[in-house]
Chain length 325, copies 3
């Protein structure tokens, strides 16, 4: 698919959210097809989780996005899909890897949306592939439990905030879930949710540093609760941490099932997005430091610093490993 | 154009905002064409004002919208356009008048966006047409000055509100202005702004009464300030008044020109939308009364009541007049 | 409707696919209206075929597309519609004919999608009009049968292809059919399919010659099979022939009805698109010759050459005829 002006910011860089949406669509197609490959109850694969994703190089208007997806592991009730996105400049022929993502899907019955069906097992060419997949499966299961407990937090509005404080850039967006946001089951596509989350995170980042910003990475996202057609969803974002050249933004998605339903507003998804600020030549710029005021803001800043240092250490370890090979 | 699922709410009624957007596009085409009909500087017609508009009957998915536009008056620097929208059920052939709207456009030079050009005069078939047009022109000019002064108000967030209070349903939405929202001059189409305003007003109305709601009318809207590509706009809505079967919602549009511009956030547009709540059979339902708490809320409720009674009296006078003819 | 940045490529030329989609929407409206004009079973007109269409002059961002449609022939079960598209520059008032297209629709019952209803006959002002229409009807019927037999072909991926070979530029795109792609009957609009086909053909052409390319013509397209909501469609394109200044691309649409249906993947549509390469000044550029490797590729090249020479001969005959009048 060719990247169009609406897929990008005014500097011509494609929104991370557009890419996340394409990744999720590819994942949903391949896993739905796999789960229906054996006779049995028809089903639709629903996104349960996206692993941490780095945006390796920005994509631009006019480039072609090549998305390829492969099923890499199946447990009894879930499918792991790996998706690669290449950007291709069709005028020069140059290709670059933009993204590598890992997504987990769960098959839901078309007749009874609360019934999780069994997944047909895939064949592995080597025994280690299955073992490594199983390890990844166990790890993400653990992480899913953890984030479920963290999910009570709310973003309170702040009146007349100072520049570079948390309140200054925090933003929220409401969206009425329409038919084209939804799967055959009438629930919002995970990719639509991620696109809206990236939109809010991008506005928070731009309000903080008032420059051209691009998505650098997204932490693992867990989709705890489905969101139904006709809901109003509120997507809120606040900055939690800044390093010299990056900003971390926490994003919440809350759903209000307001028509014809007795249910209260609930937290459907939450995630951390990391953004960098780019000069006109596409070089990373220094970012103004986030001013923390309350105890909670200071605590969240320290937690963000922890995540930042951990990621940095992991990346250095990988680079050393690669250099030794 | 055929109405699609994306143009409508889950009950199948087309959003008022979709209709407003089509009306504005028709008005922009006819007035830009007219203003360029004589040799001279090329220009683009920018929406300055929309008169009060009633939604006479709801439009549904699958129907075809027929939009027709006519220039009815020209002053030295502005063009009045009347737009009619008919909904046509192409299966039965039934046609209904959905909307009649009056819009005012101003020609801006393509070379210098701050320069308002002169409008070629139109020919009137009868002298009275010109006189009535002139009267409408003077009236709207006066009204534009008045609303300009009222525009300082801000919607403050409220924490943990009670059901049916103002704070309970108030909502806001942020939108990053993209290329396809804009005219050749790089400013947001008036129709795009109105569609977003209707979206927020609809969410406020639905949060208040938790039923299927539709736009019944929009008060005159003045577009005081242009909004540029790349801006973030915040559209906020709060309920101001409820009658037995209608809700009035005030909507503000504020623009943040955050990239590359020293300018502060400014109020670009404001307007009142009236909504009604419909049963599954399409009959108007009673609306829960708005609970006002602060002095400001009580004052706004009284002002809304004034507007409501005035509109009601006007409509009754028109019906009597029609009955006598 | 005003052409927006998203309707066009980076050089500002509106995609042929956008124009095809508007043409089909106009055709669907007029023929659905006609088929429901007499009391009887309500129906929706489904696109069965589009005749060969030339793109006479490119349309640009900011221009207004005027689409007009007329019913020119009716057989017992089908309607022929002629659609003209004019591009209007509303700043200068200049109008140009962009497209003339002929489409065939078939009325399907709203209650039973497999039932083709009868078409109310139209009145002809002259007897010859009916005779000429009948001739066109018989011709297209024959052509429809022929293409049905040709439809078994598949595009295989090629690894590490050489520049300017068939494998080098061949491309495919996967799309999940959503609600807003569909008619009231839950089948994809013909116009949506054509837009996607043009997108893939455009990528193939751009990959081959790495310049700004525009659609020059589309050969007759037959819609043999309907595509249902929820399907995944794969649109694949490969270059079949190059002349000095044009490229012919064959496009296939395959549908995978993978949820809820036992059916195998099937070929829904196929067509030939012709593209030209334009310089920055809008002049046609020479096109690199297509390198054919396999026997099949050589055969398809020769067939493409045949179509090219036939079209050229037809056009010269028409020009001579016009010169003599």
């Amino acid at each position: 698919r060719i990247m169009r002006p609406d897929d990008a910011n005014i500097a011509g860089n494609v929104h991370g959210g557009t890419i996340l949406k394409m990744i999720e669509e590819a994942g949903a197609i391949i896993s739905t097809r796999h789960c229906n490959s054996q006779a049995g109850e028809p089903c639709v694969a629903a996104l349960a989780r996206v692993e941490r994703t780095d945006f390796l190089s920005p994509m631009c208007i006019g480039e072609v996005a090549n998305v390829s997806a492969e099923i890499t592991y199946t447990s009894r009730h879930s499918v792991e899909v790996q998706v690669n996105v290449m950007s291709e400049n069709i005028l020069t022929g140059a290709k670059k890897l933009t993204n590598k993502a890992t997504l987990w899907y769960v098959p839901l019955s078309l007749k009874n949306v609360n019934k999780v069906l069994e997944v047909p097992p895939i064949q592995y060419t080597r025994k280690e592939q299955e073992d490594e997949g199983k390890k990844r499966y166990e790890e993400q299961k653990l992480d899913r439990l953890e984030t479920k407990q963290r999910n009570g937090d709310v973003i309170f509005p702040i009146i007349n905030p100072e520049p570079h404080t948390v309140g200054y850039s925090q933003s929220s967006l409401i969206h009425l879930v329409g038919p084209s946001d939804c799967t055959l089951l009438g629930f919002v596509h995970g990719g639509v949710t991620m696109k809206l989350m990236d939109e809010v995170a991008g506005i928070v980042a731009a309000r903080h540093c008032k420059t051209n910003i691009v998505t650098a990475s997204v932490d693992a996202i867990n989709f705890h609760e489905k969101i139904k057609k006709g809901c109003v969803i509120t997507i809120s974002g606040r900055m939690t941490f800044t390093s010299n050249k990056s900003m971390e933004i926490e994003v919440f998605v809350d759903a209000d099932p307001f028509v014809d339903e007795p249910r209260e507003r609930y937290r459907a998804v939450s995630a951390f997005f990391t953004y960098v600020s780019l000069s006109k030549e596409g070089k990373p710029l220094p970012v103004p430091q986030l001013l923390t005021e309350t105890e909670d803001e200071k605590r969240r800043f320290e937690e963000g610093k922890g995540r930042y240092l951990q990621t940095k250490a992991k990346r250095q370890a990988q680079m050393q490993q690669a250099a030794q090979q």
